[in-house]
Symmetry: C2
Amino acid sequence: MIERAHLKIIQALADNGTLTEAANALFLTQPALSHQIRYLEKKLGVALWQREGRQLRLTQGGELLLQTARQLLPVLEKTEQTLQAYGEGRQGMLRIGVECHPCHEWLKGILANFLVALPDMDVDIVNKFQFSGLEGLLNHHVDLLVTPDVVRNKAVIYEPLFDYELVLLVPDDHSLSVNESIFAEDLINETLLTFPVPHDRLDIFTQFLLPALISPKTKGIASLDIMVQMVALKRGVTVLPSWLANEYCQQLPVTTVSLGKHGLQKTLFAAMRESNMAINYLQTFITLGKQAV
Amino acid sequence: MIERAHLKIIQALADNGTLTEAANALFLTQPALSHQIRYLEKKLGVALWQREGRQLRLTQGGELLLQTARQLLPVLEKTEQTLQAYGEGRQGMLRIGVECHPCHEWLKGILANFLVALPDMDVDIVNKFQFSGLEGLLNHHVDLLVTPDVVRNKAVIYEPLFDYELVLLVPDDHSLSVNESIFAEDLINETLLTFPVPHDRLDIFTQFLLPALISPKTKGIASLDIMVQMVALKRGVTVLPSWLANEYCQQLPVTTVSLGKHGLQKTLFAAMRESNMAINYLQTFITLGKQAV
DNA sequence: CTCAATCATGAATATTTCTTATAGATAAGG
DNA sequence: CCTTATCTATAAGAAATATTCATGATTGAG
């Protein structure tokens, strides 16, 4: 019944004094406005303005409609602007899921660049998922997932972001510390410190130990910091990304050794719903992520 | 750009789950909604929903539009209801001007009836005017004027409300108190107590004394109560509506005497702008005013 | 695999809105 | 007092917009 046009007409009339002026301001002709309000008056059964000489004067009803116009029109304009900003990828909320510790560490580095590039974007980081990160992505709990695991799904696109190597961390004076690289068999008598998750979710098992049918003693530790401390205190060895390991090497008596002759190479991926591929800020994130080597 | 229809569609979709259901709820066909939102998406350059299997899911933009819809639609509906109430004369603000003391006294009696008859109406009473009450009516400072003076004006309609008589008030033991009525000459040696306004605005002069070329001593008094007290104390005589005078006669040693053989008859009128004649609550006021004899 | 449910699309139709032309009313100026 | 300029209302036709109908595509269930 009351349309945006009516609100605009009443406001333009109040702002411009005469209907003719109001029509110019709205890039319409005067009869257009006359007709519109006439129609509304008929529908509502109330007069909205009255002729007074050659002027129009708002009735009580017209004044009420004017109030409504002044309240609602700015809201509509704001919404339009924000939606346009969404469309151009300047504004919005990016919800990022991270499933692994290296993912989280890596994200911290890239995030600042992203927020500088798109100052009006909000970012939310989610690292607890009811099931898997992929579920979170498909259920729209997150819009982007940083993960090293590629799980084939036709609704999801994976973009490689960052290559790194998993290395073994040993005490400086450990017998393996002199090697450039080791074989799976070298770990047979070691205590392996890992995050407390099933072995099939740890690359050191799936890609290094299991193929060689080696299965050393393990101990689950929840915190990376404590894990590294325990390595320094010779309570075991652990496996972590080389760029993280190198930081610890400078502070503690620990050394890195490659896993296998060619090292254990990994890649972080950005996963997103295929339907979101075209969204600008997601592409921006991926571009920045690839640059930030 | 964003029209009420778009808001209704997004809300109906959110409330009904599927577009087909939403279309039913809006008494439209599904393609109508599809086309509408498609148009808006093109205009704004942002997706508002996505197909997900055979469901639709709102995007961030769609969620924002939904928020806007939930905020604005109720306001529009409320405004429509209120305007309809205005049209039916159930609701609104009645601003009544009163120019004379009897008018004000009379208004007090009728007002309660009016407020009972139209419980949603607000009433404002104005008794100070920059110029005259008629000016106040023509300038839209009031919508209705209660006055005994009819000033011809083609934009104003006068409706008679109430007939009354102006009477002389004298002390019980005054020489004139025994008369049923008096002549202008009888007042020649009296002190006449009046409101402090020009004589040409007092009926006792314009309609009784001046035609007889009689001009007694006068004294201006601002308050009716004090005026009557002074009459009781034999400091003069005064003129007031009989229905007011009778109340004082019961409390004080004063008596009323008619002015001239047939008394000085007066009528209160309701004046309103001709353009407002059709407004229901004004007609209601007049009807109630005439009944309240 | 088939069927039913759901949304998208394009063309045709229906409806609404706008403009043009004109008339009525009014205030200002000669 | 008449004329003119200004402003709004109204009617009819033109233009724009919205809706429907017919259809195709996709998907999930049986």
